[in-house]
Symmetry: C2
Subunit: 330 residues, 2 copies
C-alpha cells in the first residue's frame, strides 16, 4: 500500500512534512510513502534522515498551489502542482490508497472532486474531522466545509458516511447520529434542518438521536454530528477560536500574576500538557474527505511533523479497514 503525501502543502512544508513522513515509517510497517513536490528539494531534505530507502518514492512536481489562489483556476492551470500530480497518481496507481495534504483546502477539494471517482450513489463528498469531547471519546463532524449549500438527501448521505467511518476507525458501538440544529425540539431549525430531520427519521438502520445544539458536539453524547459544510465550518472554527482565546487569556494572566502564578503554573504543567493534547485534534489525524473511491486527508495549514505522522498513520488505518468499501448509499 502507498500513501501519497503532498510534500509542499502547508506553512511548514517541506521540512515538517518530510520529518513526519520519516517518523511514520518508524511507527508502522507494511506501507510506502510517495512524496510529491520539487524532487531535488525533497531529496536534499531526505538525505538528513536514516530510513528504509525502498519505502519512500519521490514524484516530481514543479509548482505549488497557494492559499491565495482561486482553487478552481489554480487546479485548472497548475497541472504540474504537487496537489494535481499527487491526486493523479492516487487515481492512476491502484497501489496508492490515500492522499494527505496540508495545502489549500479549496484546491485539494476541487482537484479531488475532479480527479477521483465518486462512490456509487454519493451526491457530494464531505469533509469530516474527528474532534475531542469531554468524555475523551471522539466525535465526527460531517460536513465541515466541502459543501456550503446542501440538500436534505446530501445530509442523509453524510450521516451514512460518518457512520461507516466511525464504525471502522473509532470502534464506537453506538453510532449515535445527531443533526446539528439551533434547538433540540423536533420542528426546530432552518428549512434545511427541518427537512433533513424529517428525512433521516424515516430511515432505517440509523441510530438517530435527533437534533443537537452545537454545545452538545463536545459532550460525548453523540458519535456523528451531521450538518451542511457552512454550519459545520462555523462550529469547528468557533470551537478553535474559543480554545485559543481561553489558552491565551490563561497565559497572559499567569504571566502578569507574579511569582505565585508562575509556581502555580509549574505545578499544573502536566495538567496543561494533557489538556493541550486532548484539545489538539490534529493529533487525531486530519479531516477526511469521504465519498470518493480513494481516501483524501486534509490537514491544518499550520501542521507540524507530529500531525503529518498522525495523518499518514490515519490514512493507512482507513485504507486497511477499507472504510471506503463500507460506505454504501441506498
Amino acid at each position: 500500500m502507498k500513501i501519497v503525501l503532498d510534500a509542499f502543502g502547508g506553512d511548514n512544508s517541506p521540512v515538517e512534512v518530510i520529518k513526519g513522513a520519516v517518523e511514520s515509517l518508524n511507527k508502522k510497517e507494511n506501507f510506502k510513502i510517495v512524496l510529491v513536490g520539487n524532487s531535488s528539494v525533497i531529496c536534499a531534505e531526505l538525505s538528513k534522515y536514516e530510513y528504509e530507502k525502498n519505502r519512500i518514492e519521490v514524484l516530481n512536481a514543479e509548482s505549488v498551489i497557494t492559499n491565495e489562489e482561486s482553487p478552481v483556476e489554480a487546479v485548472r492551470k497548475k497541472r504540474n502542482s504537487s496537489i494535481v500530480i499527487g491526486l493523479k497518481a492516487l487515481n492512476e496507481d491502484a497501489e496508492c490508497k490515500a492522499f494527505v495534504s496540508a495545502g489549500s483546502t479549496g484546491a485539494v477539494l476541487t482537484a479531488a472532486t475532479l480527479l477521483i471517482k465518486r462512490l456509487e450513489g454519493v451526491a457530494r463528498p464531505a469533509l469530516a474531522p474527528v474532534l475531542p469531547t469531554v468524555t475523551k471519546e471522539n466525535v465526527i463532524l460531517i460536513d465541515c466545509g466541502a459543501n456550503s449549500d446542501c440538500k436534505p438527501e446530501m445530509l442523509y448521505q453524510f450521516a451514512k458516511m460518518g457512520i461507516a467511518y466511525s464504525q471502522a476507525i473509532m470502534g464506537v458501538g453506538k453510532n449515535r447520529v445527531g443533526l446539528l440544529n439551533n434547538g433540540v425540539e423536533e420542528g426546530k431549525g432552518n428549512e434545511l434542518a427541518k427537512e433533513t430531520y424529517n428525512l433521516i427519521k424515516t430511515k432505517k438502520g440509523i441510530n438517530f438521536i435527533g437534533n443537537i445544539e452545537a454545545r452538545e458536539i463536545f459532550s460525548g453524547d453523540v458519535d456523528v454530528v451531521v450538518t451542511d459544510g457552512f454550519s459545520g465550518n462555523i462550529a469547528l472554527k468557533a470551537s478553535e477560536g474559543t480554545a485559543t482565546m481561553l489558552l491565551t487569556l490563561m497565559k497572559e494572566s499567569i504571566m502578569k500574576g507574579g511569582i505565585r502564578s508562575k509556581i502555580g503554573y509549574l505545578l499544573l504543567k502536566p495538567m496543561f500538557k494533557e489538556l493541550k493534547k486532548t484539545l489538539d485534534y490534529n493529533d487525531l489525524g486530519g479531516a477526511v474527505l469521504l465519498g470518493l473511491e480513494k481516501v483524501i486527508i486534509k490537514l491544518h495549514g499550520s501542521s507540524k511533523s507530529k500531525s503529518f505522522t498522525a495523518a499518514i498513520l490515519q490514512a493507512v488505518e482507513i485504507s486497511q479497514k477499507e472504510v471506503v468499501k463500507k460506505i454504501i448509499i441506498n
Copy 2:
C-alpha cells in the same frame, strides 16, 4: 423609567430573579422595576430584603410558559403568563422601557414580535449577545437565533442594528462589521453569505471589513459579527460547549493530579477566577432583541442573581442611551 422583569423566567426563578432585582436597585438610581409573576410568591420573597419600596411594583401573572411548550401555542393560550403579561405592560405603559426574561427563548421572541411594534423599515428583529474576546474588548454577534432562515437584506439590517448598539453601549469607535463565513476570501460561502457580501459592500456608512471565519469572532479584530440566526446560534453554542469542555477537563485533571496539582490550583485560583469572569458573558448582560420599539433582553435559563442584576442595568443603559431611536434603516 421602568424595567419589566419576568420573575418566573429561568431555572432559578423566582428566588434569583428577585435577589438580582433588589441588587440592581442598590447599584443604580432613577429607575423602577416591575416584577411580573405570582404576586403572593413575589411579595413573600421580597419581604426577605431591605429596599426602597416605591422602586418595585408587582404585576400579577398566574401562569408560566415552560421550555417544553411550543412557543407559538403557549403564547396564544397562556394569556396570563408572566411573559405575555410582562410584554403587554411593556407595550402599554410608556414609562416601561425594557423587558428582561430568562424564560423560554422561543416564547419571549414570539410574544415580543406579536406584542411590540417593529421599528420602521425593520423586516425582522434579531437577537444580539455581547461576547468576550482575547483583547478583552467585546463583540456583538447578530443574529444568534431569532431568524433561522434569512435574506441578504435582513443581514444588512442586522449590521445596522448591531452598529447602533455597539456605538451606544460599548463606546467602540471603529464599528468594524464582519460577515460570518466559512472562508475570508470574497466569493466564499453559501448563497446567503455570497449575496449578503455583495449587498453590504455597496452600502455607504458601514465599516465593512469583509468575511470573517468563526475563529475571528473572539479575536478582538471585529466589533459586530453579522450572520443568520441559525449560524449565529451554532457559533455561540459551539463556543459555550468548548469553554465548558476545557474547564471540565482542567478540573478533572486537577482533581486526579494529587497534592501537587491541588497546590498549583490554589496558587492559580485568582487566574481561574479572572478567566471565568472574562468568559462569563452573562456578566455582560443578556442577548438584546433589536429591531422593536422597546428593548427586550433574553438571559440564559441558568442565570443567577448576578446575571439578572447585570441585565437590568444593561436594560437601563440601553434605554437611557436611546439605542432604539438610533436604529435607522434606510
